[in-house]
Symmetry: C2
Subunit: 579 residues, 2 copies
């Protein structure tokens, strides 16, 4: 039972569910539903899909996440960045709008769901750590620019193609002459209003004596106001007939069941993109969930989140949806509106289901340009150019990873961008740890302490060299240690003993062990013995499993002082005599 | 002048050059030349090239390395593993023996020379650290098996194709019916003699009262004895006419100048392979050079080695050679024969030049099967199956990297093998560091020391949580720290202060800083202040360049005790009163 409860968090919170929680969750669900209707349509469009698939992706996945998710307030569904990744991946194997395209999208949802599930079951969430903050920051900023650029054609009423800024820009500029003015008027007005509403609607409402809580929630309804107003304008002036692109006929009804195709070559082709969707979605989702949980001193389980998100994506794959994850804006609205448990998500699903049953005819006249404006305003708030300057000031290496991700994403696309960023950050990290600090140490006179000869006034012997290594030893720094020891030894013709002080060495991998053996043999060839001092317990346990200690030309000493007592008795006695 | 001397080591050792060094170097050169003639022919054949190109690659590159190399005794030229890499890379763009194939090989030498040179000038040698010992060990073992398998067809006198064991095996087995018995007889006899000579020739000679030094050198001449004997056998029985493949006509004369083609698409296609050749060659070469230098308490400069090897490869590219590096066997012979300075390499070049001017007609009747036997015996001594068991015992993670490299190299080829091995070792290293040790610490009563509550009898306060982080903070472990803090906080409802003890934190990268800010905001939302204690100087300097300290909800304390004095005065006073 405890095991089942671990994998089905609903068994915990469900037992304490009461009227108060029901009312709070229900109210939050109403507000989130209203916000989600235009957002779901818009993100489906961004993913190159019929708008109704955005609604479908906001029904069953939410119910399933409510059963398996560990966050109480995360709101799952279509989000901007994952929609862009979906469009890029599906666009590489089929043309948008075709049945093959929709088949590819369902396979993406299935694969990313399976990947998340496997990662959750085998507790592989750490793989997401490869995406460092600078890489994610650069990726989000680049993606938001790419998304905004991809939506400009809808505001202008022109045609444009491409998944990178390099492809999009000439296409957009070339199409400027064909700009459709009524579409531009609606799109520009909607964009301007949404920008204003995001920044100034809440303060304005507060000046008008609306209570702050209600003002906060109302200020999030900007997109809904624009949707209603633009539908009325299009209907009133019959702009649909004058060439303003509208959403048109949305099929009414609940999501039809879908079955992702079993095409191995398609699965293999989409696997890398599905991995990326799974990782990016997971990282974003966990970050939002943790932030919200902390506000109420709750905690989430990252491994359980993998399972919750994985199941939600499987649900999307079998109910005509597309890849989903926990969204920032929708989760914050859910939290602010007072959601207490994951049931709020299930209630939202009911709301969206009702909307797709009864509301879709009303959306016939909704201009595409307004959906594009919704997307542009939402994603541009994600772009963080300040991070460039902040990161540069703090660390040039992190800046390099951020800049590489940003530039490669813009120029070569989302997958190349992430790969470049991860490669740069891993390489720079290995570079940073490849030159460990190694200090020549000598005895502080009259004590049993040994310190760096460069910083302290210490005593050394010509025939004993003490070296303190200030880093765990592994493949990236193993050869650097070889070089340092070789150089220090070459400079001391009278040397007979080298003592490595290992107090700061937390682990030694096989590469470093091999290097130590090499160093030992080289020292032996030169008539010098190698000793170790202050080796930590776990490191010693591991060394005992190799032949190293059998071959060791010297001894292992408990403390550096004892090593000196044994190897240079005159030295340890003399300073003590002075004292 | 000092700068020039840095880049031209000959300016150092050349000034002290005397008659004694000249005689030692000359004697070593004679012995190495005799050994190199069959070896150079054999490795060129392994690389899919006319045998004479092996001689060409042993002339100018050696002279150039003598000018630029930092090792006194390294012997540069064709080696087995690099020959295999060359064959694989050139074979992927042209068919062996064609003019395009030779053009590709010259481009490989040029590119790997340029890559080494650039790495040397910008001191990028650390990139080679990505090749951990287990990866190299697995790669060498797999390569030696691949090379031996690729030579079996010459011993059998059959045809076989392929760059992986998966391709080679069926091809070899299928050709068994066509085995040419005279060829097999010569090949098998040569292989058996060479195996015996490698293990037992030196002891046998010593039993016959040959002085140990001369016995050691003579035992290396096994391949030369086989070459001479087999030529006499082939001539005596006219086996060439009976279908035993022989080397045939080798053009006489010095290496013709060559000009690698300027074909951008070819350069791009060969770039990854050239990088691999450069890195593998560098790693092997530096390891040999360092081992030999240590025996005489000399030291080498890895960055200067990059320049020396880079120039040697450029020389190969422009003198009809192919990629070269420092070889293990040849360098050991050079060292044992008494070489004192890089001049020995230049004298060897003169020896090989004389051989290619006057000796090549004598090699007409040399059987290909004998060259194949030379290769098989040389490479099988490189295979180290014991490393599998040793590494498994020492560390399962390192074993995984070794096994991945070995299996992927055998099954999918050399490039895939190296890439798989590096990916596995980097991932496992990041995984190992992604779960840092974090201890909840409390005060040892009556002292100013704080220790892990799980291991020691210490005092804690309900409203102050002390956490000691035992690792530098970077992207791979940043989120783990977030999780640990969040869990510890969620378990303590009365908490008001969290103090992070940073005594073991050597650095904090931008990802970890972002995580700390997130943690701080989350704690703040829950009414908890975040403090730091015992922050190291360099870490503090870097934090001051960010906004973190301005936002910090708590304080930075010099010692953990001072933090407790300030935050929980009752606690620090009480235990002292007891004492």
């Amino acid at each position: 039972m405890a095991g089942l409860r671990h994998y089905l968090p609903i068994l915990n919170w469900g037992r304490a569910y009461d009227r108060h929680a029901f009312l709070s969750d229900g109210m939050a669900a109403v507000i989130v539903t209203i916000m989600l209707i235009p957002q779901s349509l818009a993100y489906a469009m961004l993913a190159g899909l019929p708008p109704v698939m955005g609604l479908y992706a906001s029904i069953l996945p939410l119910v399933v996440y409510a059963l398996f998710g560990s966050s109480r307030t995360l709101s799952v569904g279509p989000v901007a960045v994952v929609s862009l990744l979906t469009a890029t991946a599906a666009g590489s194997v089929a043309s948008p709008g075709s049945p093959e395209y929709i088949a590819a999208v369902l396979v993406l949802a299935l694969l990313s769901g399976l990947i998340l599930l496997v990662m959750g079951i085998f507790r592989l969430g750490f793989v997401a750590n490869l995406l460092s903050h600078p890489v994610i920051s650069g990726f989000i900023t680049a993606s938001s620019l790419l998304i905004a650029a991809s939506q400009l054609k809808h505001i202008l009423g022109t045609q444009a193609q491409g998944h990178t800024l390099v492809e999009l820009t000439p296409s957009l500029v070339g199409g400027l002459g064909d700009t459709h003015l009524p579409t531009l008027a609606i799109g520009a007005a909607a964009t301007a209003f949404l920008f204003w509403a995001r920044r100034s609607l809440a303060p304005t409402l507060r000046v008008l004596n609306v209570p702050p809580g209600i003002a906060g929630v109302l200020s999030r309804t900007g997109p809904v106001m624009v949707v209603i107003a633009s539908i009325l304008v299009v209907m009133g002036f019959d702009l649909g007939a004058r060439g303003v692109a509208v959403v048109g006929d949305i099929p009414r009804g609940l999501p039809p069941l879908s079955m992702p195709v079993l095409d191995l070559s398609l699965w293999i082709a989409l696997f890398p993109a599905a991995t990326l969707i799974a990782l990016i979605g997971f990282v974003e989702s966990v970050s939002v969930a943790q932030t919200l949980a902390a506000k109420r001193r709750q905690s989430i389980s990252p491994d359980q989140e993998l399972i919750g998100l994985g199941m939600a994506n499987l649900a999307a794959a079998f109910s005509s949806g597309y890849p989903v994850t926990g969204g920032f804006a929708r989760s914050v609205v859910n939290f602010d509106a007072g959601a207490q448990t994951p049931a709020a998500g299930a209630f939202t699903a009911i709301g969206i289901a009702l909307a797709s049953l009864f509301l879709t005819p009303l959306l016939f006249h909704l201009p595409i340009a307004v959906l594009a404006a919704t997307i542009i305003v939402a994603v541009l708030s994600l772009a963080d150019f300040g991070a460039l300057a902040r990161t540069w000031r703090y660390s040039h290496a992190d800046f390099a990873a951020l800049a590489a991700t940003l530039l490669v994403t813009l120029g070569r696309g989302v997958e190349s961008g992430i790969i470049a960023g991860v490669a740069v950050s891993v390489l720079l990290h290995l570079w940073a740890t490849s030159r460990p600090h190694v200090a020549v140490i000598g005895q502080v006179p009259g004590t049993q302490h040994f310190r760096n000869v460069r910083r302290h006034d210490v005593v050394c012997m010509p025939d004993v060299l003490g070296l303190r290594i200030d880093e765990s030893l592994f493949f990236a720094n193993a050869r650097a240690i070889e070089n340092v020891i070789q150089q220090e030894v070459a400079a001391r013709p009278e040397l007979r003993h080298v003592v490595l002080n290992c107090a700061a060495v937390n682990s030694i991998d096989a590469s470093a062990l091999e290097s130590l053996e090499l160093v030992m043999h080289r020292l032996d060839d030169a008539g010098i013995r190698l000793h170790l001092s202050e080796v930590k317990g776990p490191v010693m346990d591991r060394l005992k499993r190799s032949d190293f200690l059998h071959h060791l030309t010297g001894d292992v000493f408990l403390s550096h002082y004892r090593a000196l007592e044994a190897l240079a008795p005159s030295m340890t006695r003399r300073p003590q005599a002075i004292v």
